[in-house]
Symmetry: C3
Subunit: 682 residues, 3 copies
Amino acid sequence: MKKLFDFDEILFGADYNPEQWPQEVWQEDIKLMQAAQVNCVSLGIFSWAKIEPNDGIFSFDWLDTIIEMLHQGGIKVNLASATASPPAWLCKKHPDILPIDIAGQTLWPGSRQHYNPASESYRSHARRLIGAIAKRYGKHPAVISWHINNEYACHIQASFDDESARHFRYWLELRYEEISHLNRVWNTAFWSQNYESFDEILPPRKAPHNPNPGQLLDWKRFWSDKYVELVEMELAIIRELSPGIPVSTNLVGEQFFFDRRALSKNLDYVSWDSYPDPALGLQAASRNAMHHDFIRSLKADRPFVLMEQVNTQVNWRAINSQKPEGVMRAQSFQAIARGADGIMYFQWRQSKAGDEMFHGALVPHLGAVMPNGEETRAFREVRELGQELKNIKSIIGSIQKPQVAILYNAESHWALSLPSKPASIDTIQCIETWHKAFWNDHIDLDIVHPDDDLSGYKLIVAPALFMLSQTQANKIESFVEHGGKLICGYFSGIVDQNNHAYLGGHPRLLQKVLGIWVEEWHPLQKNECVTMIDQDCIKTEIHNWHELVHLAGAQAIASYDDGALAGNPSVTRNYFGKGSAYYLAADIDAPWIETFIISCIKKSGLRKRVISQAGLETSIRENDTHIFIFIINHNQSIAKADLASLSGTDLLSGKTFTGPIELNPQEVLILEIARSKSVHCP
Amino acid sequence: MKKLFDFDEILFGADYNPEQWPQEVWQEDIKLMQAAQVNCVSLGIFSWAKIEPNDGIFSFDWLDTIIEMLHQGGIKVNLASATASPPAWLCKKHPDILPIDIAGQTLWPGSRQHYNPASESYRSHARRLIGAIAKRYGKHPAVISWHINNEYACHIQASFDDESARHFRYWLELRYEEISHLNRVWNTAFWSQNYESFDEILPPRKAPHNPNPGQLLDWKRFWSDKYVELVEMELAIIRELSPGIPVSTNLVGEQFFFDRRALSKNLDYVSWDSYPDPALGLQAASRNAMHHDFIRSLKADRPFVLMEQVNTQVNWRAINSQKPEGVMRAQSFQAIARGADGIMYFQWRQSKAGDEMFHGALVPHLGAVMPNGEETRAFREVRELGQELKNIKSIIGSIQKPQVAILYNAESHWALSLPSKPASIDTIQCIETWHKAFWNDHIDLDIVHPDDDLSGYKLIVAPALFMLSQTQANKIESFVEHGGKLICGYFSGIVDQNNHAYLGGHPRLLQKVLGIWVEEWHPLQKNECVTMIDQDCIKTEIHNWHELVHLAGAQAIASYDDGALAGNPSVTRNYFGKGSAYYLAADIDAPWIETFIISCIKKSGLRKRVISQAGLETSIRENDTHIFIFIINHNQSIAKADLASLSGTDLLSGKTFTGPIELNPQEVLILEIARSKSVHCP
Amino acid sequence: MKKLFDFDEILFGADYNPEQWPQEVWQEDIKLMQAAQVNCVSLGIFSWAKIEPNDGIFSFDWLDTIIEMLHQGGIKVNLASATASPPAWLCKKHPDILPIDIAGQTLWPGSRQHYNPASESYRSHARRLIGAIAKRYGKHPAVISWHINNEYACHIQASFDDESARHFRYWLELRYEEISHLNRVWNTAFWSQNYESFDEILPPRKAPHNPNPGQLLDWKRFWSDKYVELVEMELAIIRELSPGIPVSTNLVGEQFFFDRRALSKNLDYVSWDSYPDPALGLQAASRNAMHHDFIRSLKADRPFVLMEQVNTQVNWRAINSQKPEGVMRAQSFQAIARGADGIMYFQWRQSKAGDEMFHGALVPHLGAVMPNGEETRAFREVRELGQELKNIKSIIGSIQKPQVAILYNAESHWALSLPSKPASIDTIQCIETWHKAFWNDHIDLDIVHPDDDLSGYKLIVAPALFMLSQTQANKIESFVEHGGKLICGYFSGIVDQNNHAYLGGHPRLLQKVLGIWVEEWHPLQKNECVTMIDQDCIKTEIHNWHELVHLAGAQAIASYDDGALAGNPSVTRNYFGKGSAYYLAADIDAPWIETFIISCIKKSGLRKRVISQAGLETSIRENDTHIFIFIINHNQSIAKADLASLSGTDLLSGKTFTGPIELNPQEVLILEIARSKSVHCP
């Protein structure tokens, strides 16, 4: 068990921006926070200009006041490093901090995140700022956590200016040492791109045609490293001045611009901002579950924090649907089910003005209370959730322990997203297809890096794992040899870590374990579809992609029934050592995948604890003494599950459940089961 | 009665660009103009380079000649200030006049309107040019009107260069005096955007994310003021050198980039360029009617001029449909019906070359007469209309006097168009929905500013009037209190003049008069639809938007029948003082709106003079002695109307009509009725 | 008969880039080439950086080695001038060679073709490079052809920088001599665009609105001339140092950015890169046939070379379909059928890395041979084709002699593609409509310039020949007068060579020969359709465009049956001299066009040698002694043809065919018929 904070409650609160309001509102805020069961606020995220109104001139009075007011009110502070949005004076004095886009255009101040992450001017001023803040509040009793920057890279993924070009060259020189090495890795012999010295290298700026893919991939790696450097820079200062206080930064779920595994490595915990689109209905729930698993797996040994969500409606989509009654609650419990020990919102009080004045908040324009004396729904749903969280403190510090893992590698993702493939394949979409199938089958899973320790899993899935090193391939082979099950998706293992294609039959390094090789890739046009037929004579449609596979030891367990490749294998199985390895050579429709998974699961010795129907999410957390089974009905209708012989007490209602049960729309059960009682404990 | 010109005819003619043709063509032009009944031409609109071929060197001989030829031919001149397109020498000598776009890119010469409206180089050269022209021709007997510039802002709405930045800062300093005031209004505490001095402020150039909305709104206001300054600059010079001659500038119907009310304030009359797309069929007619009403309402006490239209086919749409036979005539009479005392075209003679060589003209490439001796349709339809206009001189100077007004405020329009709303709402589309319903119901109306005098109206409509000041709200409340009817659309009264949201329940300042408050906005996705049911059990569909409304004195006259808000009010009525106020909380389908209007009209004591079927436009002009009822059939089939006891003489045919009548497609009646005879005079 | 090379085989090979591979691979390459029947490779296309790794330092050792190895292996070399992609050192030293786009943005190095074709820095370095290469290898016995640059202008069509602006001004001064002449031609009186001197002229850079069309058209002409200059520059050097060796450059089929006729004028032969999209099915075949005809007609007196195609799958479309088995072979024979004496591929060995690492190749990643010892399909299909080509050497040097020509003029194409037309008309799409109808009717044709000699043809078609000079019109009139048939499509003959509209009734210069004039253009919206009815009472649909035509001697052979122009002629015929001239005033659906052609063909005295069904391509090459009838089944099913009394020996199978025959999908016949035997010889 690993508690994140020196605090006995589930973190519950919001971004708080008191600088937007006169002081008379602050007193009311504290009272309303207490009413809403808020126990923590994120403070100062966009306060650089307020804290340092002029170069080196710091103004802490207002921050002293509000932190003290919060402390007196019993509300903890997740204090920001305030580096997310440089003030106007800094941009005027050091215009070199402004990012330059791929076409050479300056991105000017006036919104937010208008800094080149590689800029030394930005970094030196950021360091001074963090130092001042951490020194002043590093040991304040209200401060239980640090919040570095905000949603790194969500607007700026790179800057193409000359300073960044210099940093890039230096980074390349460290990586390759000799220019001939770089020329070989980038294959600059192609299109006459040879470099005689590192001095000749430029960022991949706007060009007549596709730039060198080696250059593009290293450019992505370089910027990922720049973001990791920023985190390390802030961490070092905070750790020195605020020892023992945990530090995190809030990630964006849908964004993979930097290597989140590398960036999270030295953080104390991971946290993210979750904004599923209510208009997506059930897909919002399944996709959100995937992002929770992505984030949790970055530090699988401890809980994470849901750092931002909205209670009602965001303002940045083209059409911003409201969350229906109960959905915010169900999604909050979903976060907890998948490992969160904190539920936070953006933001506490809705802004009167500014770009996010129509973003939902705990206290809306209308107020916590309406003219007729009733609570607004916005406020009521939050307050009620806050009260419920008091009842589930026993889950704090418990974690998930899945037996299944999906492999994800940011570098493979980036390499696959470069132009000029047989067809474009979206790594995350491939992962979502698999994740959703497991989610529908009620199987918990991790999303891990192929370099991670895989020995604890019984089944691993590699969907479009385009890039694969020899070491990684060896590990996968060994995993199967020792009894693991491998499911390998199409277009995997194509290139090495230099993005060089393996020769001699894809996926070269997995030929042995899979018992096949691929001769041709056959992408399908949008209006094309072929059919496959499996051993049980079930026919299933294939879209987007299929491959010509040759067997070399494996058996076909399904074959194409029509199209250019009719009669050839579409899915193969190879027994290897004590395990077995499947290859899916095509983009097969989801229902077949779900059925396939169930059969694999059975063969892997995994068993489902709860039999539920689709749209009922079940997920398990555990600690040394208990397991906690979460059952959440994301459907808009009543749904059924069967606990069989399991028996547990729902932490929310206090009632005991066993056998067949029914859940209303958005209903949530959290069954606590003592380990000694449970016959199914791992 | 207010005659625009010292001239006893309806203005009839076209833009005339003799500089594109050798002098031998000019003589033929005069004769053809006479044949076509043309009595006025707009001259010199794009002649800067011809008038001032080099810096300070003026060449007037050619202009002297053609003006004299026109004068001798009995054709009046609407003389241009020629400032619309700066010559090449000016751009080469003063490249600072070129506009810079939001991304920092120069907009180069070679087309037209390539000047930064704030540029002092542009302004000083423009002043010298106008001075020279006005001095030379200001008292010429042929000149009956001045034509300032051309379609202001149709390509350039702003320039983001450094000179404009300086002007913007100066404008802001005048507006806010203290930087702290600006910080408060722009809410720069959000996203760390605080300014320590006006010097730090930049135009809202390309940025990583949405710029501050206060900055964006003031940027729009600033540029609107710059355009008003340009008009005032030209006006002052012309008024001094050409006293008594009326001045106008041709507006673009569909464009609202500057505040047209402010810009028109000191002009002698308003005029506009009307290019409805023939491919739109009946919608072209209803939309065109709306734009006529927008323009006429800018100076409601006098007629306006239709400064440009095409007789056949334009060249700037992707696919340029021809106007079918009769449509140009019907749309010309529509302009007159809604207040025009002039019908002008672009252009007299079709260009042989240049970007608009395929834009229709009165004399096409083929000529006025074809090889077989017949007139081209292009020429014939114009000539025939010119002859008809001789018969309707009695309408000159008469005006419309509607009893209904739609409220429009350019600043509200701009504020609502900024990003980050619950969903995007198009002010003009909302107005068009209402206007079209009134048009279908045969009710004339004005489109006025909420600061205008509303006391003459019986019914006012506020569609998506997002911004509302306390003064405006007071006036609306008083209007209802004294017996007026108010129809208020959704998402109205949300922000004050600083674009700050009102707190405590939208629409805050209209809560009393409407007897309701709104708790939540529920935009609908494109594929979503909910149903409402009214007091008569009529069910109607709702798209795009609906709101959760609470009653506080009002009654629900319709409610949602399904969806997230089922059972809640969708339309409310509140009796207030001697009047009543309706709130429509949703984007309700058009047929219900039309029925609703008819019922409101009846209750307001308004009465329709003519009962007509849809697509038959009826509109009324009046003067001290007569009313003129226009009836125009825009349908492609015969349409019916019932004059009931009305009896009038058609100015076009000389026939008298009463009781039920029928009109052929494109047929037009203009019934003149002496006031003493009419029982229905207001 | 005109043989292209001093070589007795059909050229068969590929782009070869040995610099991407270590030398140990080269030896294997030679052996595999021999196995694949490869007899020639294109070498050095992207080798500038390898040949000249630093300014003026040349490195030929590697090239000496590989050329010698190829020579020893009996493989000929098509040697590149290597100027397609400037090395990094050159861009760093002379950044002025980088192209600047219309918005002022630099196009940076890192991909390919990053040079401004007008740059003197580029040209001087290119000259030195070509000189060095041609000097070293100009007389090497392996070198049988020169390959200038690569796919000119495929990414860069123009550069808007200041150096180019100076060249443009100089070019204009040569063309117009007096600025007043330019002002007249560009009609700069429109929109105040007058120039006082050439110094004031700029490239048509990004502007507020459409630039002057005269400027735009001359800008296209200027850049076309710049590309012609580059070819002439390289030609002069190569001709001096490598006398007698033929020179070409590989054109891009779908691109018409420069005047390919002018550019090809002094080349020894034309060649092109053909990449039909397999996803288009039968349309890929018919469109490809058109591009072959476009290219062949550039030098109609001799064969051409298919310089690049792919055997399997490209990498640069969004979704890259595989060529099904047999399609590559059928398309190769299609090229030969339409005049090719060489079949080359991109590329020999698939790259391991670089932008085109997923572009198909003769030796794929998997290799020529698979782990199970079988050949890969990629390699096998090539090898088999290479073997077949040995059997058809007798066709070398034979040519097509069509009796039908479609007129195409690049300047007309460019002028018609400028903005601001009644609707946008795509010249190539119009030509494709006609070409496909002839292809379906099994009629060979040329695509020639209106300035070319037309006297050898019996039928000429002018589809959307927007620009027409007096000389060209005279020639067409004379062609008809002397017995030719003319089919003239809509919107032809509208402007003269200065892009000035003719006055007095379009198409002015063809009024006499056509016996009609056009009064109005009526484009149709996407959802509009009208019907026409012909003399045989057949009704056919019309989309996109129709015109109002007046008869002046011609007869209507079809008329509009509905729509705005109902009752007016849609197709007319005029007997003129000994010939006749048709005018098609509308975009009539394809089936009617095919039937119409058959009827015209009959009347022209042309006869089809082979009666075949649709999708069966038939085409004829001939020399002094034989004719070669190609019959290719592009359908996916068996297709029938009737040779009637023709009897010939299939060069591929050695069998003799006559009377009715059947062809399997992708099957190819090449019937050789001795002239003395053939009753149908021309």
